[in-house]
């Protein structure tokens, strides 16, 4: 490939990534040379501007793309699957930036410039993970996201907790990455290629030639490694420690963006590379392999929801709740249908609103109380009714109680699982959901039924208050009218548009 080939591509589709890259680079230089004079807030607002610009161009791509566009043999592949995830990442990062603008005023983080552009590079990594069809670039995206997150978690340099979290995150994250890479090496060994679409046909050949066992082994390593990113069992142990120590906006970023990126990567690999593997008579992986995912989903739901019962730190509780949510999100893949995509995207969309709303409330409350203990929420209703009501909406949504976006998302997943006659997983989903009522309502109990340390009204900065309000209203609105989102997803993000006959037959 020479330079002429490179210029022959239509690079405009990559504008969102270039914008993020450009902003990250320029802002890091700006911070280095003019950081003191500019004031840290400016860098934060500029980062936000970059994210919004990138989102605009993703929308342009969504509307103009008439078929998936491939760069350099699918090293980067722009398709609707990736675009949908990118919109989620961009929204998530924008929310994280908004929270950070308020969070960083408390001066606990010294390196605010780094903070902002590391969020951008993390975002860039996530975006690459969503829009690549080559193991190499996928891995680069994964690492970019991971490395940025490691630093972000440890940015509260003087906090022992933050340092411990960052250290744990680096160590366990590196192991997970190594496991993922090991799984990829098996795939490469079986197929001799890193191209996801070629892997699909080569793996099928390997399956025909009697290497089914190795196909399973490679998948097992990949799944375990990627379970780390989505914080699903069996690789979920890091989440509570890391969530607890990280600055709250970063926690929210990890809970939503990083998790969604893990899903984007996992689903693409599964869908394209693994579900087409046959042994001649049947697509055995499609038939049996999804059982693994089912077990992962069941274990995550059970572990997440039961461990959360015992937590007294609200961020740890949210981490376990996030593990359970990862379990719910795996359900539509057991086995998948054409519609897994609308289900997953809608669920993630609801989760995005609710998580950022909840973490915003947690941030305000724990800052004022000086503790992240559940007891910090005691009497919140008397101190700030609007905050307590908003938090209740978020918690009801996480618990899956109508009328909230979380309820409909769960309802959709649940309905699809039952349509697949997947009764055991549905039963686990329902039972663990009811178990989860207990701890979500635990916070509600604190807010409304326990006396707080003081009765003085709680100061909520205007910006954050507006943010929380918007999230709460959106949660209820999209719970009442979920059709607005599902219709949009159906109209613009159709997997058969992206993957065509790459999809397993029952999908098209």
């Amino acid at each position: 490939m020479d330079v002429k080939d490179i210029f022959s591509y239509n690079w405009s589709y990559l504008l969102p990534e270039f914008i993020i890259l450009g902003f990250a680079t320029v802002l890091s230089l700006l911070d280095l040379f003019a950081g003191k004079r500019l004031g840290k807030q400016v860098i934060g607002w500029l980062s936000l501007l970059g994210v919004v610009l990138a989102a605009v161009f993703v929308f342009v791509n969504v509307n103009t793309l008439d078929k998936p566009y491939s760069y350099m043999a699918d090293m980067i592949r722009i398709d609707n699957y990736g675009n949908a995830f990118k919109l989620l990442f961009l929204a998530g990062t924008a929310f994280a930036l908004l929270l950070s603008l308020s969070y960083l005023k408390q001066r606990e983080v010294e390196h605010t410039g780094e903070y902002y552009y590391l969020l951008l590079t993390g975002l860039l990594g996530a975006m690459v993970m969503a829009s690549s069809a080559d193991l190499i670039t996928l891995f680069v995206g994964l690492e970019l996201l991971s490395l940025s997150s490691y630093v972000l978690v440890g940015l509260r340099k003087k906090s022992l907790q933050s340092n411990e979290s960052a250290f744990k995150y680096v160590v366990s994250g590196s192991i997970a990455t190594a496991v993922t890479l090991f799984g990829m090496s098996y795939v490469y060994g079986l197929t001799g290629t890193t191209h996801v679409y070629e892997i699909s046909t080569k793996l099928a050949e390997a399956g025909m030639a009697g290497y089914q066992f190795l196909v399973y082994v490679s998948f097992a390593f990949l799944a375990v490694g990627l379970a780390f990113k989505i914080s699903a069992a069996p690789n979920h142990m890091w989440a509570p420690d890391v969530y607890q120590g990280a600055p709250t906006p970063v926690t929210a970023f990890l809970a939503v963006v990083s998790k969604a990126a893990g899903f984007a990567l996992l689903f693409r690999l599964l869908l394209i590379s693994f579900f087409n593997v046959t042994d001649g008579s049947s697509r055995f992986f499609f038939d049996h392999g999804s059982l693994y995912l089912g077990l992962m989903a069941a274990a995550s739901m059970i572990i997440g929801n039961t461990m959360a019962l015992r937590q007294t730190n609200v961020k740890r509780m949210m981490a376990y709740s996030g593990i359970a949510q990862a379990g719910y999100l795996l359900v539509p893949f057991v086995p998948p249908t054409t519609l897994f995509f609308s289900e997953v995207i809608f669920y993630l969309f609801g989760y995005l609103l609710v998580s950022f709303g909840a973490f915003a409330v947690i941030m305000v409350v724990s800052r004022e109380q000086g503790t992240e203990d559940l007891k910090g929420f005691a009497g919140l209703y008397h101190r700030s009714p609007s905050l307590a009501i908003a938090m209740s909406i978020f918690l009801l949504s996480l618990a899956g109680i109508p009328i909230t976006a979380g309820f409909f998302g769960k309802f959709y997943l649940f309905m699809s699982a039952l349509a697949q006659e997947n009764y055991w997983l549905s039963a686990i989903m329902i039972i663990t959901s009811v178990v989860s009522y207990y701890y979500y309502f635990g916070i509600i109990r604190q807010m409304y039924m326990r006396p707080g340390s003081s009765e003085a009204s709680l100061y909520v900065p205007k910006g954050i208050w507006t943010f929380i309000l918007v999230m709460a209203v959106a949660t209820v609105f999209f719970g009442a009218f979920p059709g607005l989102v599902t219709d949009y997803i159906q109209a613009h993000f159709n997997p058969s548009f992206d993957f065509g006959n790459m999809l397993p037959p029952s999908f098209r």
Binding site: I401, A419, S433, V434, R445, G483, S506
Partner: protein
């Protein structure tokens, strides 16, 4: 006129919103204004419900005041073929002769429960807002003609009740609220499971359509459902509603709630929320799967008898007046099960009469306990006594309520128990005879409890107690009036119900031969 009746049902269901919105703008400290808005706010649903009841056509079997709007349509991929179907969830409301009396019951009891809250001391604003949300949920449950909508309204009652128990209850209120939440959460979960399976197989959530399809063996979707599968669905629905009713092994949460919740909420809980279980059982359990219900009916009768006798025996040994009434509720809900078990129109009528009648009676009795508690700060039978001297009016009403509850002719309790047992004797004479022992026991435990509190020595500290005040007289008189009205003129309930029950009963009796 037509345009009004077209939206009357929606207007009724969402009418509590008006009070909620007004309350939201009233400052916290204006307790008096808040209470007034809270109480007058319940009049709007009451007026609309009365208007509906007045213009309800007794002779039509079809649903009335039907409303239908498109709401959500989502695509779902099916197993095996992987084909995609679009599922429509519509906004569908409608009432028939079964739900119409229950809506009126809800509106009346809600108004009286709001009146009963007039002495509320703390956090009035939140109380009345949650109260109206609860009211909206209850009205919606009875008005919904769509399983999804039914479920949403069902859940809408869950959250406010949790708060109402947990914040305004007595000593162990939080424990009671948690227990309420978890038991009912499991019930709702099982219900949702059954609803979605039905939805996926039949591709509709319209309650009427589902019943029609399931009773048409030629319909391809109905043919695809094996009897065993139907039985499973029936059992799932039965368990879901049995938790709500509550049926014997699932009843512990309800005792806690009855003891710990504030009196006004117990009125609603015992008067209406438990009835949602009976309503669901009839409308969905028996209405969708009559054959399965028929073959299950012996079990229904056995469970009913367990409820009747277990409740009655335990009510006899309770020391707390609230516990007596809580167990009495279990016993009376057993009669509902017995009525259902008879599988004939008399028994069904008895069961539904019992639902309405017990709604009024238990609301009255729990209201009186609240009144007594206000003055004496106790509901222990040992500590009370001789109240008739200081509070003759309250004691008289209490005795009248107890008489209604034990089935004195001329009051609503008699009619409903009479019908329920009459129906059951037609099918299972032995079981009915055993169940009838419960009626005797009811008289024993109620008279024991009531006489001990109202007659006998008056403890010195209770001598100067004030009798009922005007605000307290209203609910007593209205509730007792309703009880006697149904007792002497049962047609007021019977007429609307008969037509609706006719649509369920022929299916059932068709199977029984």
């Amino acid at each position: 006129m037509d345009s009004v009746t077209n939206i009357l049902l929606s207007a009724l269901v969402f009418s509590p919103l008006l009070a909620i919105i007004i309350l939201a703008f009233v400052p916290n400290h204006q307790g008096g204004a808040i209470k007034q808005i809270g109480i007058y706010g319940t009049l709007l649903p009451l007026i609309l419900a009365l208007w509906m009841f007045g213009s309800f056509n007794y002779n039509a079997t079809a649903l009335q005041f039907v409303e239908k709007h498109d709401w959500i349509s989502i695509p779902i991929g099916l197993a095996q073929t992987g084909a995609v179907f679009t599922f429509d969830i519509n906004y569908e409301l409608g009432v028939d002769g079964i739900s119409m009396p229950l809506i009126l019951l809800t509106a009346i009891i809600a108004t009286l429960a709001a009146v009963a809250s007039w002495q509320l001391k703390k956090r009035q604003k939140e109380y009345f807002i949650l109260f109206h949300v609860l009211l909206m949920g209850m009205l919606g449950v009875f008005a919904a003609d769509n399983l999804f909508l039914f479920f949403i309204f069902f859940e809408m009652t869950l959250v406010p009740t949790f708060f109402l128990i947990g914040i305004w209850g007595y000593g162990e209120r939080e424990h009671a609220a948690n227990k309420f939440l978890l038991y009912n959460g499991i019930g709702s979960g099982i219900m949702l499971l059954a609803f979605i399976v039905i939805f996926i197989v039949l591709r509709t959530m319209n309650i009427e359509q589902i019943a029609t399809i399931l009773s048409t063996p030629e319909h391809p979707a109905a043919a695809a459902l094996s009897p065993a599968f139907r039985y499973g669905l029936f059992l799932a629905l039965f368990i879901a509603f049995a938790i709500k009713l509550p049926v014997f092994p699932f009843h512990t949460w309800m005792l806690k709630v009855h003891v710990q919740a504030p009196p006004s909420i117990v009125m609603i809980h015992s008067g209406i929320l438990l009835k949602m279980g009976a309503y669901g059982l009839l409308r969905m359990g028996i209405g969708f799967f009559p054959e399965q219900a028929y073959s299950f009916s012996t079990w229904l009768a056995v469970l009913g008898i367990i409820n009747v006798l277990y409740g009655a025996v335990l009510a006899f040994v309770q020391k707390d007046l609230k516990m007596v009434l809580a167990y009495s509720s279990i016993s009376h809900m057993g009669i509902v099960l017995l009525g259902f078990a008879s599988m004939n129109s008399i028994g069904f009528q008895g069961a539904m009469f019992q639902v309405v009648s017990h709604g009024f009676i238990s609301a009255l009795l729990f209201f009186l306990i609240g009144v007594i508690w206000d003055r004496t700060q106790t509901s222990q039978i040992d500590e009370l006594g001789g109240l008739a001297k200081s509070m003759p009016f309250v004691s008289g009403i209490l005795l009248a309520g107890a008489m209604a509850s034990l089935g004195l002719p001329g009051m609503s309790g008699f009619i409903s128990e009479f019908f329920a047992f009459l129906g059951l004797f037609g099918r299972m004479p032995i079981l009915a005879a055993i169940g009838a022992i419960g009626i005797v026991l009811t008289a024993v435990y109620l008279l024991r409890a009531i006489l001990r509190t109202t007659f006998g020595q008056t403890p010195g500290r209770f001598e100067g107690l004030a009798d009922a005040q005007p605000m307290e007289v209203i609910p007593m008189v209205v509730l007792l009036g309703c009880i006697i009205l149904i007792g002497v003129y049962p047609a007021v309930l019977g007429n609307p119900m008969q037509q609706a029950l006719k649509t369920i009963v022929p299916i059932v009796t068709g199977i029984g031969g």
